[in-house]
Assembly symmetry: D2
Homo-oligomer: 391 residues x 4
Amino acid sequence: MTIAGRQQQAHSGRIRLGMVGGGQGAFIGAVHRTAARIDDQFELVAGALSSDAERAKLSAREIGLAEDRTYSSYEEMAKAEAARPDGIEAVSIVTPNHLHAPAARAFLNAGIHVICDKPMTTTVAEARELVDLVGRSGKIFCLTHNYTGYPMIRQARAMVASGELGTIRLVQVEYPQDWLTRRAELSGSKQAEWRTDPKRSGAGGSIGDIGTHAYNIAAFVTGLEIEELLAQLTTFAPGRQLDDDVQILLRYRGGARGMLWASQVAVGNENGLKLRVYGTEAGLEWTQADPNYLWFTRFSEPKQLLTRGGAGARAEAIRVTRLPSGHPEGYFEAFATIYTEAARAIRAARAGGTPDRDVLYPTVEDGLEGMLFIEAAVESSRKGSVWTRLA
Amino acid sequence: MTIAGRQQQAHSGRIRLGMVGGGQGAFIGAVHRTAARIDDQFELVAGALSSDAERAKLSAREIGLAEDRTYSSYEEMAKAEAARPDGIEAVSIVTPNHLHAPAARAFLNAGIHVICDKPMTTTVAEARELVDLVGRSGKIFCLTHNYTGYPMIRQARAMVASGELGTIRLVQVEYPQDWLTRRAELSGSKQAEWRTDPKRSGAGGSIGDIGTHAYNIAAFVTGLEIEELLAQLTTFAPGRQLDDDVQILLRYRGGARGMLWASQVAVGNENGLKLRVYGTEAGLEWTQADPNYLWFTRFSEPKQLLTRGGAGARAEAIRVTRLPSGHPEGYFEAFATIYTEAARAIRAARAGGTPDRDVLYPTVEDGLEGMLFIEAAVESSRKGSVWTRLA
Amino acid sequence: MTIAGRQQQAHSGRIRLGMVGGGQGAFIGAVHRTAARIDDQFELVAGALSSDAERAKLSAREIGLAEDRTYSSYEEMAKAEAARPDGIEAVSIVTPNHLHAPAARAFLNAGIHVICDKPMTTTVAEARELVDLVGRSGKIFCLTHNYTGYPMIRQARAMVASGELGTIRLVQVEYPQDWLTRRAELSGSKQAEWRTDPKRSGAGGSIGDIGTHAYNIAAFVTGLEIEELLAQLTTFAPGRQLDDDVQILLRYRGGARGMLWASQVAVGNENGLKLRVYGTEAGLEWTQADPNYLWFTRFSEPKQLLTRGGAGARAEAIRVTRLPSGHPEGYFEAFATIYTEAARAIRAARAGGTPDRDVLYPTVEDGLEGMLFIEAAVESSRKGSVWTRLA
Amino acid sequence: MTIAGRQQQAHSGRIRLGMVGGGQGAFIGAVHRTAARIDDQFELVAGALSSDAERAKLSAREIGLAEDRTYSSYEEMAKAEAARPDGIEAVSIVTPNHLHAPAARAFLNAGIHVICDKPMTTTVAEARELVDLVGRSGKIFCLTHNYTGYPMIRQARAMVASGELGTIRLVQVEYPQDWLTRRAELSGSKQAEWRTDPKRSGAGGSIGDIGTHAYNIAAFVTGLEIEELLAQLTTFAPGRQLDDDVQILLRYRGGARGMLWASQVAVGNENGLKLRVYGTEAGLEWTQADPNYLWFTRFSEPKQLLTRGGAGARAEAIRVTRLPSGHPEGYFEAFATIYTEAARAIRAARAGGTPDRDVLYPTVEDGLEGMLFIEAAVESSRKGSVWTRLA
């Protein structure tokens, strides 16, 4: 029960944070704000919460931002905050996908660290530019692939890395949902509207929204790189413009094979991200909806149900665990861990150094890889679902 | 609690049954014998339990067969039994795959009904011949795709057929095992030996052994026909000759899409056949290891856990249910249902008629479809995993 | 996969079996007959299936009994069968509770082994007489506490016996159902009628029907003896004569404590027998509806999910296992194991010897203990739920 | 997906909060602080985190408290803060049990609202005094029975209140843990030390630590009042002074019956709070470790698995839900809901009014009831486990 103590950190002043997007009616903005608060590492002090000036103002007032730090454009905000002595040190970008890259550029150019929602951009070209810019800027860029913050995902990664699974042979990853079974985008769901609109989401629908999470979690846990893939993107809901289901076969470097399925029309699935990894020595299984558990089986031994904070927990998992086993942590806490990891990196940068080796957050390179994955999948599917190499 | 009563049947004499294969050390032979006994429809009276004469004799004695009805070849048995006034009316063929077709031919030609294990043959050509022969013979041919005997699979089929799921969009079927993770065929497992030997199993390893079950259960429940598939067969265990893992993308006629995964090297999976079907209106999910449950969700309604014999059970499920809900039925009972369905058909044939419309067992045509599936998958994979039409 | 082979037994002639009770409309009669068939150790050749002569005849015809071995009273049957050279060797008694003792006496006195449903009698006095009679007769008396036939219950018992749990501290056993939530006995359910009728069930309702199973399974697994108990029997359904819910605190000899809950009005529970045992070193948990699993946790180690036939299976479990892991066995198979154990004992008796030490079935002494338990619980409750010693 | 929006609240300045207890090494202090942050309703500005002056100072510095608002006694803190114009408006008391009452008195007398951990006091007499004092003070007193903050517990309560379960017949509540299986209090666990020490915990061990949670959650959901109970408190670990296991039979006013089990020596249980409620019309089941689910079954209908934020969610649950279904919330969020409910009440008090009717948090009266429950249980057990009326 001393685990919680590990979260106690020297409190050398909170990091001043701004936010782009996340105004009234948005889902993910409130999530980011809560995540940023949980470990008390950030203080939200500025925002361009909406491109609509009035809505931006109302949204800002609602969450207690000072009026003079409420902006209606990210360009204006980047400039003004960079000029203030007490300006923001980092910004969270939580807009629809097409604005991620331009907003990120504005803040990086203004010398401000960036925490950005995924998918990172809408094209690979933009992603490559961003990689370059981050490199030149020397700033932290953290992509909120929040599922990598779950302790049992850290546990899984550590078990694979230490060889407990032997050589990985198979990766089965899936992410079924059902909320787009019907055309929610026609009945007033803002979430559905922009996610099914190629102008705001890019060329991928479900592949960008959730397929990329599935891809990322598999990569994060296994460390495997995709050599080529074959994707079948389908739009089941009549009249929808983007895919609402994606089925992919994966060939990893080194001979492992994988299957990835993401769907937004699989009735009865709420948010069913699930990862299974099988090696020559052992297998493991994790489900996002029940994130405090990890099934682990060594060949010819009994199945084990590992629990967050319980017996068998590894240091890599314990360092991101806040509560004793049996006290469930959830989505917010995993998200908060991404923020806290970013905070560690930002504090190290403040101090002119580099973060400790155990600090772990999705980077701009991970974002580029995600975009390569999306682009290859879209291309494979367009060509009739043929094998396609990742660029 | 009157469900059990439905199993009570006019007992107009048991059907005289013989068996080919299933001698000492065999797994599936004992399963067939138990299945045949459960509903008291058959009496096992003859056998060619092994091609080894001595082993055939010992095996027969062990299970109480009369010495004069113990044979060491199926040809001899077919001939001798056909000549007896009290000869067998039906035969169970439970040999390795390569003997299914020749044995079936021998008994059909002798006017004896056939109950045959799957996959039906080792080639499509053999399967086509068998279809013809069965047609000409007028005999019953029942293929023991035993998983179709589970009440909740009957329930699922009935729900799909009645339109409760709407138009089917997605089929996710998988059958992971782990018993061939290492080369069990080198350490004395008879089961592993013949299943990994192309001479006895045919061109498919895991695809024939378990992939065909996965294919069949999906077809049985959804009624969908595969238009084309793309398969990736992999042999992970070094030195093994046949595939021990198979990943398939499915395109069904009418636009539904599917994924099929079968593996014998997925550590931690014992016998994980699982079917998920998603339509425009509802979704369902069933797992073989917990066969008395069926998850069912209508879009935007709470998830329901249907139970065998419980609320919401349909007539199609109740007629193959023996016990009240909460009293688990298992693998043997599902297998017994196939035997009992075959018995109904045989009794109808005895009486010169046709079985009732609700009698349901896998036929020689289902066997042919299974072989077309296997052959297409093997061919697709050999060509580098390309889209391949089912012949 | 050679486990199934263990069920193969020298087939030195099936045991000739009769049945008392179990005519049309009965639930448990068909279960006993199926259980007796599964391992092919018995042949049902005679029956007094109903006290109604006409119904007895129809029922017997339906299941294929010869007319001259169809009786309408057990006294007649015991006498006639004892006189035949091919008379029955054993009888199954599957009547309502009040007939168990008189029927058992008739057959034991006729030199016929008895397999009897539970609870054994309706009073402790009757139970004591039966213990004496069985002792004098030298015949096998097997009480069908069928849940003790589940392999994972055998596994649990073996683990406790071998000390893996350390000293047992706590027993939590429950058996919730919901089928008597409303007064099913008024709407034509024969099962409900006799179970809620003190004339046919004895002084206990749910305590005798299912509480005794809960008691028995706890005793079977732990080997603990109850020193005293405190019971609260409640009748929730207005107008019902017997208890439909029972809550009991248990004090075991040696200091362990227990709680037992059985209910027939717990909506949402079908047949929820569940046993949990906690010792100084480890704990285990088993649920009847999912009988192929056993949770096992050593203190400060990961939870293990043991599976029937899987890794960690003990010899005591394997000897009653028919199928490889992942192929679910169920209620019938557990019941069949009780029959097969009885068959082993009967064959040993045939040969003038005693059964092997590993043969394990509930005896007449277990039946007496069950009656002592019921009687103490009824008495405790009648006195206002006070602590009551087992006689 | 607009659910998250409901958490957005007019941000009329955070409530200034102090804390007593919760210094380095404490578990629950960090939990309270995180809970207070999640919805951004409080700002922690003062603390008496330890009675050890040095440790108090270090602990305060660690979490960023100003030095001049760091105290080493709650008396001093109450006095000093009450005198400041920017003094705390509310205080969280997170000390061992014996200090709850004196600390609460000090702050109430200073005109400061109190948020207090459970059990409220160590005696009923103290609890009664506190009820009086709260009444006289006109201040908010919120007891952190945090499990009442879970959305599915709110859902359950609403379903019972609206009559969906009919008349409640049975309550089954349990709270097994295993962390005190061995004498952790001898090997340096501060948590174990004070919890097993009658001087700091009061007369109850597990009954006060977790039994009271079990009692409270059952009362919260069902609204039933206990008329009498019979308790058996056991100390299994040799040499321990307080109970580590408690088994209780409950008789509710109106005829419902209940069983309550709490244990800290049940190996394999981490934090297994579980509530089951059965009525004449329906039943429900909830497990704290998987808090986003609620099983609900109407008699003779299929079982439903309700999910937080999913289909069937009631207004009472939705108003405390932050994330869409499938995105798990956990222990912190439930705890945060208690804080946010308290914040609503405090804001209403600030404004000179009363909180909205839907604001729901455990009050000082609930705390008194909890103490009556503990005292009756201890007394019942001391007298040999006899029926005891709640005073």
